[in-house]
């Protein structure tokens, strides 16, 4: 019998990738292709969904070719994707009716304010777990229905279909109009308790139900692919951060993964009941495997972590490449009393202060560029600490270890600093590509390629581990100083609205 594999398609913000995995969860081959970022005006970001579909086909071909694998050797294909990016296409022709509106796009700013009305940002939180914000897909869909001539009428007649990137690719592969619970949980349109579209929110936002895909679990056979992957079961869909949670095998309540890239996403598995946050975290779906109960999660995002290192490189020119931050930081013993709070566009979870702007504080004649480098790395760690503290408070489950992935895990000093300020073990798994791995795992489970979730845990291996080494007294003092530095950022932007809590 020929060797069987599972393929994962990762449709990301800047590129699409396909990674093929073997039964031990090891990478066999990779295909990757970038796509255009379209900026029609300030604050607007679009993708060409047709270009993305072309790219997806190419990266799958590339991965198959590099691995010398034929489509009939694929037991299943799974999908993970940039979340919230919104596509509407013609049911008959399969052509997008407009460029996809990307998650970073802020064109729905005014719409969000209007939708909030007298209640404000929290209007739908009880039902969908999210505050009203420009990221989420539902308001983007409403914008398209309002602005593209004739689209609302066509939507009501069922001539056009809406989807996030998972739906678009599943539809292209199988002809089915489907999304999974994790992607649906980022639209603001899904009720967290019923896991169905919420008629009251649809009514309030003004979305005709006829355009919406059917909400399914994250791991089941949605259909067989036609075309170039003919016959391969399409068997999973998970938003990227949810896929990373699954790929890190965070299957038990209390387990947390942190993905360290330009920003940082922390996701905590909270078990089979949604936990509403009193500390500014998002309530979202973790994953849902077939008929098993859905698993919920709390999510906290830190806007600026890796991008602060890039800022030190590109705007200050203190380092030539991002990894050199560690070399520079190791030229000194500590931060020399200096703290950087990178509130470049305000403070996110758990503060949510749009009137904040970044500060470098504690400067004396003693501070040199090595201390600044330390302060940059420590900023990522302390921002993580603030989100983790909020998670502990909301869930009542104290963190015992943090599973990390993403490009910044190559920075040993950052990983050690994380362990020090969180006072928990920080663990990096052996395959850093946890997003693709999560999608592959879910698809493989759905077709029986992997027997159960326990066998997936057996594939998880530590590649490295960092233990806390900081004196508790030092940790307390540093946290106090960090908190003081955060206070210095508040109230800088004067014309902005009063912050809400």
């Amino acid at each position: 019998m020929t060797q069987q594999y599972v393929a994962a398609i990762d449709q990301g913000t800047t590129s699409s990738r396909c990674i093929i995995f073997d039964r031990d969860g090891r990478i066999v081959s990779v295909g990757q292709r970038e796509h255009r970022q379209i900026f029609p005006q300030p604050g607007w970001v679009e993708h060409d969904a047709a270009e993305i579909w072309d790219g997806v086909q190419q990266v799958v071909h590339e991965a198959l070719e590099k691995g010398d694998i034929t489509p009939d050797q694929l037991a299943a294909v799974g999908i993970t994707n940039q979340r919230e990016t919104t596509v509407v296409w013609d049911r008959e022709t399969g052509e997008p009716v407009h460029n996809a509106i990307v998650w970073q796009d802020t064109r729905t700013d005014d719409l969000i304010r209007r939708l909030g009305g007298v209640v404000g940002q929290e209007r739908f939180r009880e039902r969908c777990g999210l505050p009203l914000a420009t990221y989420f897909a539902g308001p983007k869909l409403r914008w398209l229905l309002d602005e593209v001539p004739g689209l609302r009428e066509r939507a009501e007649r069922g001539e056009v279909l809406f989807g996030t990137m998972d739906s678009w690719i599943i539809w292209k592969l199988t002809g089915q109009h489907i999304t999974d619970v994790t992607n649906a949980s980022r639209t603001m349109l899904m009720n967290l308790h019923t896991l169905q579209w919420d008629p009251e929110i649809l009514d309030a936002i003004g979305i005709p139900a006829a355009v919406l895909p059917e909400i399914r679990s994250s791991a089941e056979v949605y259909g067989e692919a036609t075309g170039f992957l003919a016959g391969v079961p399409v068997a999973s869909a998970l938003g990227d951060q949810h896929a990373a949670l699954f790929g890190q095998t965070c299957f038990s309540p209390g387990e947390v993964k942190g993905t360290y890239g330009t920003g940082t996403f922390l996701v905590l598995n909270t078990g089979t009941e949604p936990v509403m946050s009193a500390n500014g975290l998002l309530t979202t779906l973790g994953y849902k495997i077939g008929d098993q109960p859905a698993v919920y999660a709390l999510e906290g995002a830190v806007a600026v972590t890796g991008s602060l290192v890039q800022w030190l490189r590109d705007n200050l020119g203190l380092i030539a490449s991002a990894p050199e931050i560690e070399t520079l930081a190791l030229t000194v013993e500590d931060n020399g009393g200096c703290y950087i709070v990178p509130a470049f566009s305000g403070l996110f979870a758990p503060h949510w202060r749009s009137d904040a702007r970044g500060v470098i504080t504690g400067l004396t004649g003693y501070v040199n560029k090595g201390h600044l480098a330390r302060a940059v790395l420590e900023a990522s760690a302390w921002q993580t600490r603030e989100v983790v503290d909020a998670m502990n408070t909301d869930s009542g489950i104290p963190l015992t270890s943090l599973k990390v992935d993403g490009g910044m895990t190559a920075d040993n000093l950052l990983m050690q600093t994380l362990a020090d300020v969180l006072d928990v073990e920080v663990v990096r798994p052996m395959v850093a590509e946890t997003t693709c791995l999560g999608a592959a795992y879910a698809a493989g489970l759905a077709v029986g390629y992997w027997k159960d979730m326990e066998s997936l845990r057996a594939n998880w291996h530590k590649a490295a581990e960092w233990s806390p080494r900081m004196d508790p007294k030092v940790r307390e003092r540093e946290y106090r100083n960090w908190t003081k530095a955060v206070q210095r950022t508040l109230g800088w932007v004067e014309h902005d609205e009063q912050p809400q809590d």
Partner: protein
């Protein structure tokens, strides 16, 4: 006492000029800045280019400092940068070999461990990034001695004897020299219980786009698993060499 050599002074001035700007400079800019005729400046630039101290951008034809100058002072490739670039390949080597993986660079006549991936068996292991190991008693060190011109074994002669760690440590210069030529010919090196009894390591060189060896990657584990009849297992050797080639490709080296 012989007089000063004008062309060397001028070459030094060219290098200083190129080091000052963060973008390349054109021939015209260089000759104007140094008040040299274009022909003289071109002759100096071509000579410096020949010895690797100057590079010419193929698109703009501008001149900039070459890797040869950078490697004179500090090490050309930052160890943390090497780790970031090698991360996925080192993971995949640990997965294929079932052993722990280390990446080492030369640091003052020793191997500095810049990256370490645990053996994938979930046993308790301690990260040993930052550790220094002897060159002559480890596979990583032998690879650096064999392939990195800055890691010449001659210093041993000045520093005295090769230290012995186990009965199998190589302590004779002649034996070491013979092993290094073998490593150069085969493209990899091993230590068989030469640093720690019962432990074996296998390593291969990581090269950058100029073909310079900037580090070594290898596996380390129990002799029962990594050796067959007292010789390193060739399956493991091929995993190590595949990983070294993959990292080198990522650094821009052409496949050899």
């Amino acid at each position: 006492m012989p007089g000063r050599i004008q062309s060397i002074e001028r070459a030094a001035a060219v290098l200083r000029l190129l080091a000052g700007g963060n973008r390349g400079l054109s021939l015209g800019e260089i000759s104007r800045s140094l008040e040299l005729p274009k022909g003289t400046a071109l002759g100096i630039l071509r000579t410096l280019q020949h010895v690797g101290f100057v590079e010419q951008d193929s698109g703009s034809s501008h001149y900039r400092l070459g890797g040869g100058v950078l490697s004179l002072g500090t090490r050309y490739l930052d160890g943390n940068e090497l780790r970031a670039r090698a991360l996925n390949w080192a993971d995949s080597l640990a997965g294929r070999s079932g052993e722990s993986v280390r990446i080492g660079t030369l640091h003052k006549h020793q191997v500095l461990i810049v990256h370490h991936v645990f053996r994938p068996d979930d046993s308790r292991q301690i990260l040993d990034v930052g550790t220094l190991l002897p060159l002559h008693a480890t596979a990583l060190g032998k690879v650096l001695l064999a392939f990195d011109p800055l890691a010449t074994p001659e210093y041993y002669a000045e520093g005295g004897a090769l230290e012995s760690y186990t009965p199998r440590t190589i302590t004779s210069f002649d034996d070491l020299t013979a092993q290094l030529s073998l490593a150069r010919a085969s493209g990899w090196a091993a230590d068989v219980e030469e640093l720690v009894e019962g432990e074996v390591s296998i390593a291969a060189p990581i090269r950058d786009r100029r073909g310079m060896t900037v580090g070594a990657i290898g596996v380390r584990g129990a002799v029962e698993r990594l050796c067959e009849d007292g010789k390193p297992d060739m399956g493991q050797v091929s995993y190590v060499r595949d990983a070294a080639r993959a990292v080198s490709r990522d650094l821009g080296a052409t496949p050899w």
